[in-house]
């Protein structure tokens, strides 16, 4: 294992210290328990939007803390959900009197820890669970679909609504609407190495790819020969389109995401193919996001996320946002 780290045991706190140094105008990092909080928290009268999860997906979630998105993020150990005391601390530091909405990705650990925190919190707290990954098929016999790329879009849109003064019930309803309209799928060309484990989470031959991977180095549903970029994009896009389903005439946001190790040149190439395939089907791409926004350490690979848009979602997507990873309109 070759990584730019001093000690596998302190990777997360060491990285948080660097994040504080880089973005002290936007956020404040607290330790014990670890919480990333927007610099001007709590914002009086505003619903606090809080998320969190295992580390290793940067910029998710800490990179989305700031005006128009998250009030706080709770970083767990690498690929491990945060603990309830982190979530409680985040709520206490950001509740401006209008309550808090917890955005939880659907993983057993995340749901259990956030659920436990929600039961213990003294403020008014609601939570929503995002499960946009179409790779997990039979939800009756699994922990259910995972929360992946759609989380980024959800945090941006609900964060904008809270910034405009939407109350807790309205934020929760909007979040449910976004969750119901967003679908994702990812693939890996290589595995990633968790620092405290030291070896790759799975083995892929040079000519193989893993379809339907999650964001924690867990293997996917299917291992197939790595084909052309067009075949890869098609393998992700088809199941997404069939699932919601998306149809001719739909307006969408297309999010082409790198898992961390895939360079932008390949990502733009894939994005161009996805735009063309959607145009061929009569689906209008009205908004885009391209880049590494929800990653799996240094994994090579990508995910595609499609969100079916309405006017309100477009307006909230375009609304000002000022965070380390997303910034426009300010």
């Amino acid at each position: 294992m070759k990584k730019i780290i001093n000690d596998p045991e302190t990777v997360v706190q060491d990285a948080l210290r660097g994040m504080q140094a880089a973005h002290s105008d936007l956020l404040t990092v607290h330790h014990d328990p670890a919480v990333v909080v927007r610099a001007d928290a709590p914002v009086r009268g505003k619903v606090a939007i809080i998320s969190g999860g295992g580390s290793g997906h940067e910029p998710l979630h800490g990179g989305f803390v700031g005006r128009g998105m998250l009030d706080a993020a709770c970083p767990g150990a690498v690929f491990t959900s945060p603990t309830p005391d982190q979530v409680l601390d985040a709520v206490a530091r950001t509740d401006g009197g209008a309550g808090a909405l917890l955005i939880v990705k659907n993983y057993t650990g995340d749901v259990l820890n956030f659920e436990t925190a929600g039961e213990m919190a003294e403020s008014e707290v609601r939570s929503v669970v995002i499960d946009d990954d179409v790779a997990v098929k039979d939800s009756l016999y699994t922990a259910g679909r995972r929360g992946v790329g759609g989380t980024v879009l959800l945090e941006k849109i609900v964060g904008a609504a809270a910034d405009r003064g939407a109350d807790l019930a309205a934020c929760e309803a909007l979040a449910s609407r976004v969750i119901g309209s967003v679908r994702s799928m990812g693939l890996a060309l290589s595995a990633c190495t968790v620092p405290h484990v030291g070896s790759p989470s799975f083995e892929l031959a040079d000519d193989e790819m893993e379809i339907g991977i999650g964001i924690h180095g867990e293997p996917g549903r299917q291992r197939v020969p790595a084909g052309s970029a067009t075949e890869m994009v098609t393998a992700l896009l088809d199941p997404i389109l069939e699932d919601l389903p998306f149809a001719s005439g739909d307006r969408v946001l297309l999010f082409t995401n790198s898992m961390g190790g895939t360079p932008l040149i390949e990502l733009y190439l894939a994005h161009g193919i996805a735009e063309q395939l959607l145009a061929d089907r009569g689906i209008t791409v009205e908004r885009r996001l391209v880049g590494p926004y929800i990653t799996s350490l240094e994994m090579q690979g990508m995910s595609l996320t499609l969100l079916k848009l309405d006017d309100e979602m477009v307006e909230l997507w375009d609304a000002p946002v000022h965070t380390p990873a997303l910034r426009w309109g300010v």
Partner: protein, 208 residues
């Protein structure tokens, strides 16, 4: 002879040592069908527990178990944190303020732990989780005669068998469930850690 707060602390110190010894094994098991964090997470939790036990000596077995619960909930993370935390919290509630635990109290504590895990994680036997180790352990504990050590020894043996029974299972809970059929053929790391903890408790009770 019952089991005092000091006995429970000694059993937990032994369990922490077992977790440390088996950290790499649990990581490997979890890498095969999960995300590879189980061994590290448990080790972090039990290391934190050791320092809390160094700092304070709770007055009753129930209070020791509660300290375990709050420590694991706030330090382990993953699914194992709330699940083991809830297990120890319910075990604590099941034994109340008694100064010593007799064999019936230990059996009640195990039953409470199982009820807590099931309430929190909603898994049933056959889902390939820690419930597959804990359920037979509770049954064995309730049906065996004799001392606390005998109860824990029967529970540990049943848990070990229960853990082994997860090998052919297809996971229906947790991250392993994403693998579908590919999860078969692997020992569930949560069931394995449950069996390891019960074995550590049984060995400590036999020595006490």
């Amino acid at each position: 002879m019952g089991c005092t707060a000091a006995d429970v602390v000694a059993a937990l110190r032994a369990a922490a040592e077992v977790v440390r010894e088996h950290r790499d094994e649990l990581v490997r098991l979890d890498q095969a069908i999960g995300d590879g964090d189980h061994g590290e997470n448990l080790k972090r939790g039990f290391t934190a527990l050791l320092s809390r036990l160094d700092a304070e000596e709770p007055a009753s077995p129930g209070k020791v178990l509660k300290l375990v619960a709050t420590t694991l909930i706030s330090t382990v993370g993953g699914a194992a944190g709330p699940l083991y935390g809830t297990a120890f919290l319910r075990a604590s509630a099941a034994v109340g303020d008694a100064a010593e635990l007799d064999r019936d109290a230990v059996a009640r504590a195990l039953q409470g732990a199982l009820d807590g895990v099931v309430a929190r994680g909603k898994a049933v036997v056959g889902d390939k989780t820690m419930v597959d180790a804990l359920t037979p352990a509770v049954t064995a504990a309730a049906s065996v005669d004799g001392s606390v050590a005998a109860v824990l020894s029967a529970a540990a043996a049943a848990a070990a068998e229960g853990a082994e029974s997860t090998v052919p299972m297809v996971a229906r809970k947790g991250r392993a469930s994403y693998l579908g059929e590919r999860s078969a053929g692997h020992l569930d790391p949560g069931a394995r850690s449950t069996a390891l903890l019960l074995r550590a408790f049984a060995d400590a009770a036999a020595k006490a």
